[in-house]
């Protein structure tokens, strides 16, 4: 399970900024994501309109969530599947373990799933003698390295080719020392060799779901490696893990959102594999599981409905927000200290683990708004982060020094005459101090500023209001 280190965000960030390997990996954000998304968006003239459609589909579903979940569950059951409703992570873990036990499972293959990370499924299965095997390439290497994902669609985004090679050499003890790993293909081949037998041996396959479709009872996953298909079709039992907000009313709604998803995520028109799973293997089907279980997880989502944070439930996990976030780009995902990094994580994590623990996340934003501008379902992420700051302020979680400074500043700002007098003096003094220098290398109480930049001195001659008043008196 991902160990929560969000309270140490500042320390995490400092470490990340000083890690040359991580910084090298993060430098790929721009070539890998920005240009590709921009190109894909430019190639679809109706993209902006599609964003509105995506937003509206999700809003409509959230406004009628109970209805669509019930329709969905009925249709899953009609297709021979079983729906397990779980309020908490504990319940979901227990359900997954029980299904695996019933199936007599020794190994379980897994497709990439963020909700699985949220629930800590792997640790739970391992603790009960069942071996989970991650089959997404990125997740596979992270499992070898015992690291959590740092990105919601590129879990090993923080690693460089050298790291992959090192992990293989350490873990795959039968590896020929002369093998070279210079190309991406070399890495793929090695992982594929190891994974093939795992796919065939698995008793249960666990995947996430990008969408659940109410009208058909289907779960949908998108992958680029095809590992998800092997995970869910080869074993006898398929478990799809999904949080409740993944449901959409119709197949058509799902396809509208799919048109947004890959373009926003990787700049592809469509992911390489888009797989719809509906129920169990029917007579005459070439493949498919004998048992199909959907574990529907709330784990705090329903508490967001009807609050300032409901809009966050529109998220389709494309990662465009983190790909375009300058803070994520500087620190990478691990600094955020829990499952979901970047702007979407800064809104979601406080909801799921508590703002008292994740309070740094919504504060560590310049509100530059780039995330909101690329969000395929138009989630106003800066606004939602600001709402978290309001909750913190109300609950007195905002640090005391900030509260005191705010109170002092506000007292004057509400009293223009007093403000005028005190700023005139302050700026006069600062102006005298800075005279002839232009900028300060260091100033007391401004260490946060001056550690990495000079503080420009105010323009000599006093405040604007004082100079303007003087000019007016002199008849300008």
């Amino acid at each position: 399970m991902v160990h929560l280190t969000s309270p140490a965000f500042k320390e995490n960030a400092a470490r990340a900024l000083a890690d040359p390997g991580l910084q090298k990996a993060l430098a790929r954000t721009k070539p890998q994501f920005h240009g590709k998304r921009a190109k894909a968006v430019a190639g679809l003239p109706e993209f902006e309109q599609l964003r509105n459609i995506g937003r509206d589909i999700k809003n409509h579903t959230l406004a009628n969530l109970d209805h669509y979940l019930e329709v969905y569950a009925a249709n899953v059951e009609k297709a021979g599947g079983v729906v397990h409703w779980c309020s908490t992570a504990d319940e979901a873990r227990a359900v997954v373990l029980e299904i695996c036990r019933q199936a007599g499972a020794k190994t379980v293959t897994k497709g990439k799933s963020m909700i699985s990370e949220e629930l800590g499924i792997n640790d739970h299965l391992e603790a009960h003698g069942i071996t989970p095997v991650e089959t997404d390439l990125g997740e596979y290497i992270l499992q070898l390295r015992k690291e959590p994902p740092s990105h919601i669609i590129g879990p090993a985004f923080h690693l460089n080719r050298e790291d992959w090679e090192q992990s293989f050499r350490e873990s795959h003890t039968d590896l020929d020392p002369k093998r070279v790993f210079t190309e991406r293909r070399d890495i793929l081949t090695e992982a594929r060799t190891k994974l093939r037998s795992r796919f065939l041996a698995a008793d249960v396959g666990i995947t996430g779901a990008n969408f659940l479709i109410a009208e058909t009872g289907s779960s949908v996953i998108v992958t680029n490696e095809g590992n998800g298909d092997l995970t869910q079709t080869l074993p006898k039992v398929h478990i799809a893990l999904a949080s409740i907000e993944k449901v959409v009313p119709t197949l058509e709604d799902a396809t509208s959102l799919l048109r947004l998803l890959a373009r926003s995520a990787t700049g592809q028109d469509f992911s390489v594999y888009t797989t719809f799973s509906t129920g169990i293997r029917r007579q005459g089907d070439l493949d498919g599981p004998e048992q199909y279980h959907v574990v529907l997880i709330d784990n705090g989502r329903s508490n967001m409905i009807g609050t300032d944070f409901q809009e966050m439930l529109r998220c389709i996990r494309c990662a465009a927000c983190m790909n375009h976030c300058p803070v994520y780009g500087a620190t990478g995902g691990h600094a955020y200290g829990w499952v979901y990094p970047g702007p979407m994580g800064s809104v979601l994590t406080p909801t799921l683990v508590g703002v008292d623990k994740a309070g740094h996340l919504p504060n560590a934003s310049t509100f530059c708004g780039r995330c909101e501008s690329v969000c395929p379902v138009k989630i106003p992420l800066p606004k939602l982060m600001r709402h978290w700051r309001e909750r913190e302020f109300e609950r007195h979680l905002t640090p005391g020094t900030i509260r005191t400074n705010l109170r002092l500043w506000a007292w004057f700002a509400k009293r223009p005459a007093a403000y005028r007098a005190v700023t005139r003096m302050g700026i006069g003094a600062l102006g005298l101090l800075g005279r002839g220098k232009g900028a300060f290398k260091w100033l007391p109480f401004a260490e946060g500023w001056t550690r990495g930049r000079d503080l420009p001195a105010p323009e000599p001659g006093g405040t604007f209001m004082a100079r303007y008043a003087k000019a007016r008196r002199q008849g300008r």
């Binding site: 500042k10 302020f393 705010l406 290398k441 946060g448 503080l455 006093g462 604007f464």
Partner: protein, 256 residues
């Protein structure tokens, strides 16, 4: 151009008031050149963003009421900052909910007639060019609120294009934040400094000798970093160049 002279109230912003008065005077000169009658209401202090973005809605609302009461009587409110302008035009109405319909209405009325300086000059007053000369190679930084909240991108470039002797260079990643972010820059200095260092590098790479922007926060941040690195780039508010007032003050962070 409008036929009558609109009464325009200048919202100076606290950073211009305290740090860069020349920007205020440059704004007045530009507005008058565009045919406005400019006044500077004395009761102004700050738009309230530090409180608003720190989660202190009560203080933000109190300050907003003061700004609304002071500025509502004018035809327009003009602000030499995208972020403070956006605070009034995009965020004030949301501070007042249904329990205070009176101020909600007043906030909406003020929001509708509040503009950032450069976009006001071009979009409302129809200004096509300025009478200014600046011999230099200039990079223009788009502040985030101006760019994404207010849609200001071409307006400053258009007016800068009419400045005699000025060559404009574009930054790579011109839609990326400089790392200022209000209180962010002192709450998370490590990340902020990393962001502004990236921006400073981009600025230097353009080969420009001057960096302009429309927001004092970004300008102080970028000037501070360029100065720390010893980069010979002059930093100024775009209004100083457009108003031909670069002789009135040394570049930001430079001794007189």
């Amino acid at each position: 151009m409008l036929q009558t002279r609109p009464r325009v109230a200048l919202f100076v912003t606290c950073l211009v008031d305290l740090y860069r008065p020349t920007v205020g005077f440059a704004a007045i000169k530009l507005l008058e050149a565009a045919g406005c009658q400019v006044e500077v209401p004395e009761a102004q202090t700050c738009c309230g963003q530090p409180a608003y973005n720190s989660g202190d809605r009560t203080t933000a609302r109190d300050l907003a009421r003061n700004v609304i009461d002071t500025f509502l009587p004018y035809d327009y409110t003009v602000v030499p900052s995208g972020s403070c302008g956006g605070q009034i035009s995009h965020h004030y109405p949301g501070l007042f909910d249904d329990s205070d319909p009176h101020y909600r209405g007043r906030a909406e009325a003020l929001a509708a007639k509040t503009h950032e300086l450069v976009s006001f000059l071009t979009d409302v007053m129809g200004m096509q060019e300025v009478a200014a000369r600046y011999d230099g190679v200039v990079a223009y930084h788009d502040s985030c609120s101006g760019l994404r909240e207010l849609g200001i991108r071409e307006q400053p470039r258009k007016l800068l294009g009419s400045v005699q002797g000025l060559t404009l260079k574009e930054l790579v990643d011109r839609d990326v934040c400089c790392g200022f972010g209000g209180t962010f820059c002192v709450k998370y200095p490590d990340i902020s400094v990393r962001m502004v260092s990236d921006k400073a590098k981009d600025v230097v790479e353009t080969g420009a000798d001057t960096l302009l922007a429309g927001d004092m926060g970004c300008l102080l941040n970028m000037a501070g970093r360029l100065k720390r690195e010893g980069a010979p780039v002059k930093v100024r508010h775009v209004a100083e160049v457009l108003a031909d007032m670069t002789q009135d003050a040394a570049p930001i962070g430079e001794p007189k």
